[in-house]
């Protein structure tokens, strides 16, 4: 690893070398052990990180905090059930099973009525409607 590559990794991944991928971490430690330039780059990166950390902090003033706390009073919302919008979507496994069973039954009925010999169809219908149906059919 060169000092330039080390610098790029500092910029990209930050100064906490312990969280870098192991091969980069190993190479960085070797470089730091032998290169004053690399150690200098790390020190400068740490100083910049500290300055940026300070720059990033921005406490909320009490007046703004009060305004934020008053938002519910100024924007009343209708009361929703406690879990509204937070129920995870559960897979409807039973619906798939029911659909498959219904398809199977439909297929059996259609298959036996459309493709079976005519006399079998009469027999099947007769099971449902009884002798009346058979009598009407034969007339």
């Amino acid at each position: 690893m060169t000092p330039e590559r080390f610098q790029t990794l500092l910029d990209r991944r930050g100064i906490t070398i312990t969280v870098w991928p192991w091969h980069d971490r190993l190479a960085a430690r070797r470089l730091l052990a032998k290169s004053a330039d690399a150690r200098n780059r790390l020190a400068k990166a740490q100083a910049m990180d500290a300055a940026l950390g300070e720059w990033a902090s921005c406490p909320v003033e009490p007046t703004l905090r009060d305004r934020l706390a008053a938002i519910p009073d100024r924007h009343p919302v209708s009361i929703r059930p406690a879990s509204a919008g937070h129920e995870p979507i559960r897979p409807l496994w039973w619906a798939g099973g029911a659909l498959a069973t219904a398809s199977l039954l439909t297929g059996l009925v259609l298959g036996s009525t459309l493709f079976a010999p005519a006399e079998d169809v009469v027999d099947i219908a007769g099971l449902a409607y009884g002798d009346t149906y058979l009598t009407e059919l034969s007339q």
Binding site: T8, R12, K44, A47, A51, L52, A56, P72, P81
Partner: protein
């Protein structure tokens, strides 16, 4: 992990109209929301407006939060980013940094306060020259609370694209700030 669970639970209560839960989220996250908006916009007043807008949305649209899809902080920071960018589109160029009120800080001694202020002003000026995408990348990662992966998710970028922004931003800052030690 614990905080995440707490945030999720509080959001569930907020979604049911619980103002106390909302105020707990304000206490917990307002500083970070304001800081992010302030750093992206580089203007205090607009950042405060964005903070108010973000928490108003959190209160009125809590039911749109889906705990399983993203961490609460990722969700809220994404709202901050969008609100800041929307505000930014309607803004004139940033006013002079001298016009901006100083954020509240702890009260160090006079010498230390002067040194801190000087460093902060230099960093503020340098960061003010960065393109907004680079500034946002720095703003999200500077406190080291978010990983690059989380920051990338908030900016809706790949990790590689985020890291490219960080490299360019830090190079530019190094050139401008020189030796901070």
């Amino acid at each position: 992990m614990g905080e995440r669970e707490d945030d999720d639970r509080l959001m569930a209560r907020v979604a049911s109209g619980d103002a106390d839960a909302f105020r707990q989220l304000v206490d917990r996250h307002a500083d970070r929301v304001l800081a992010l908006a302030r750093r992206v916009l580089n203007q205090q007043a607009d950042a405060e407006d964005v903070t108010q807008e973000v928490f108003t949305r959190l209160w009125t649209r809590a039911d749109t939060y889906r705990p399983g899809q993203a961490r609460f902080t990722t969700w809220i920071y994404r709202i901050v980013m969008n609100a800041s960018l929307n505000t930014r589109r309607g803004l004139a160029p940033p006013a002079s940094l001298d016009d901006e009120p100083e954020p509240a800080t702890d009260t160090p001694g006079p010498d230390q306060a002067a040194a801190n202020r000087q460093t902060r002003d230099r960093v503020d000026s340098a960061i003010g020259t960065l393109p907004i995408s680079q500034r946002a990348a720095i703003a999200l990662t500077a406190s080291r609370e978010l990983s690059n992966r989380e920051a990338a998710a908030i900016m809706q970028l790949s990790v590689k694209a985020l890291e490219a922004l960080l490299v360019r931003a830090r190079r530019s800052l190094r050139t401008q700030l020189g030796d901070l030690r």
